[in-house]
Symmetry: C2
Subunit: 300 residues, 2 copies
């Protein structure tokens, strides 16, 4: 009953008002699988790393119980991203080196083809579709995307969306995708592309989960100190999918709880660089923030 | 036990993707008092109009039970605003004519000096302070402000804020006011200026209500058709304050409910130009949206 997570694994160099880090562990599949690992104990990661990828990072994933058996080790250098945040909300990409990721097109091993739950990080929609076609009995396939693919591979993205159950997308991206100015309109339009659930990530404004005739809104978790927002969206998706996988089924009650769990996961993540502060998560801390979010949103 | 609302009364000309209206009823005090009138039956408006102000607008206010006895009729033309929205979120001001509003500095009649609840629309902080000084036994004084005053009259705004209980402000404005990038930080900082409650209005992302050790988040009400967002913030404040006045006291439970009532008021407003769609509000429709918002936010 694996939760299969496919995406980038990389080394990030980041400058922001709180500091500067050089080639730290990053990538959508890494953030998502570490976040998911706190909510579900059968998480498998698929991605590619180069010869220079420090094995301590693999040890970290293993220590979180993430199945790394299907990581692909390729000749060449690991994917690298360099970015600067002038405030903490918006990253300016200074440099992207695809390196071994350039030829990434994973063949899913037979046992993982049986995964009921699949999370496709923000990668080329053609590769996402290639993965989807290998999955035999999915219960829920979710995918993330970004502006770059919406502009460069719109047709392939639309094709991919016909084969997923849930789309993770941020507020700017869904407006670009649907050419609608309001998130309500935009999410209704996005439902027409195929997914039965749209999850709009709005940064500090929280998330909205939209199905036909179903809405759920969760605020961002209020934090005193935000250190680095890199990976926040992926931690949200990882926590969300980890929770769904732990329940094994998808009801509206579970969708709501999953959105809260994703919110909590990303709130832990932004309290440090890389996956550093995710390491401090505990069941008790998750429960405390769950209770907080109830208090912050419930009314009589 | 009046709710006193002080602010602009004007004639708005608006162009947006849904149409074009010429010199329709507008102004912060108008939107707020019409919205408040659906939740509380003792609302008084103070503002100034010119000789050209159509009396049908006064009749509309009266028909909503709003006390217009202290409206000031001045020689000259009514305040006018002209704006264009390229999408529905952000207005570009094409023209502002202060006209009779230029010399507005109201003397509050004796009976209204006893008002326990006061809402100061977004006007010059010096005028806001002048009104505050005339109020004898306030239970809750709330004020709104905007970028213009933050930039042009920062010191006066800070002085004014020392004398209010609640600040209504939007997300961009509070970041400018406090020089903080995160709404959590920004609202904490704003509390230091004097108000014990900060209400951050975030458009379609909803609102957050912040006190020391208290948070509440309400999402925007999802609407199929948004026609014009002019006055949405004022309708929020009016609905919020109308609800508080109807309860006569301020508890955390009531603050939360007030935020929901404000959200519902502004959702009705944006479904039409001017105050047109506010006229369709009924107790039943408010209650239905109240139940909806519960469903959209509550989780187990």
């Amino acid at each position: 009953m694996s939760l299969l997570i496919v995406g980038t694994i990389g080394l990030d160099s980041i400058e922001n008002p709180h500091g500067k880090v050089h080639e730290v562990l990053g990538g959508s599949a890494v953030y998502a699988s570490v976040a998911a690992s706190f909510l579900y104990d059968n998480v498998s990661i698929i991605g590619v790393v180069g010869e220079d990828f420090p094995s301590e990072h693999i040890m970290l994933l293993k220590s979180r119980g993430v199945n790394t058996d299907s990581l692909h080790f390729a000749k060449g250098k690991t994917f690298r991203w360099k970015g600067r945040y002038n405030n903490l909300n918006q990253a300016i990409t200074l440099d992207t080196q695809l390196n071994v990721f350039q030829n990434f097109n994973p063949k899913i091993p037979e046992d993982l083809q049986e995964s009921p739950f699949v999370l496709l990080g923000n990668i080329d929609p053609e590769i996402q579709l290639n993965v989807i076609r290998q999955i035999k009995k999915p219960k829920l396939i979710a995918a993330d995307t970004m502006n770059y693919w919406i502009i460069k591979k719109f047709d392939q993205l639309i094709e991919m969306m016909m084969h997923i159950d849930l789309l993770f997308i941020n507020d700017e991206e869904i407006k670009l995708l649907t050419q609608k100015h309001y998130l309500y309109d935009a999410s209704q339009k996005a439902l027409e592309y195929g997914p039965s659930v749209i999850v709009v990530k709005k940064g500090e404004h929280g998330v909205m989960v939209v199905k036909k005739d179903f809405y759920f809104f969760a605020p961002g978790y209020p934090l005193e100190r935000v250190i680095d927002t890199t990976g926040a969206g992926d931690c949200f998706s990882g926590g969300f999918m980890g929770y769904i996988a732990s329940k094994g089924t998808i009801t509206e009650t579970i969708l709501k709880q999953a959105a809260i769990m994703g919110t909590i996961s990303s709130a832990f993540n932004v309290e440090g660089f890389s996956v550093d502060s995710l390491k401090n998560i505990s069941k008790e801390k998750i429960q405390a923030r769950f209770r907080d979010l109830k208090k912050f949103t419930q009314f009589e």
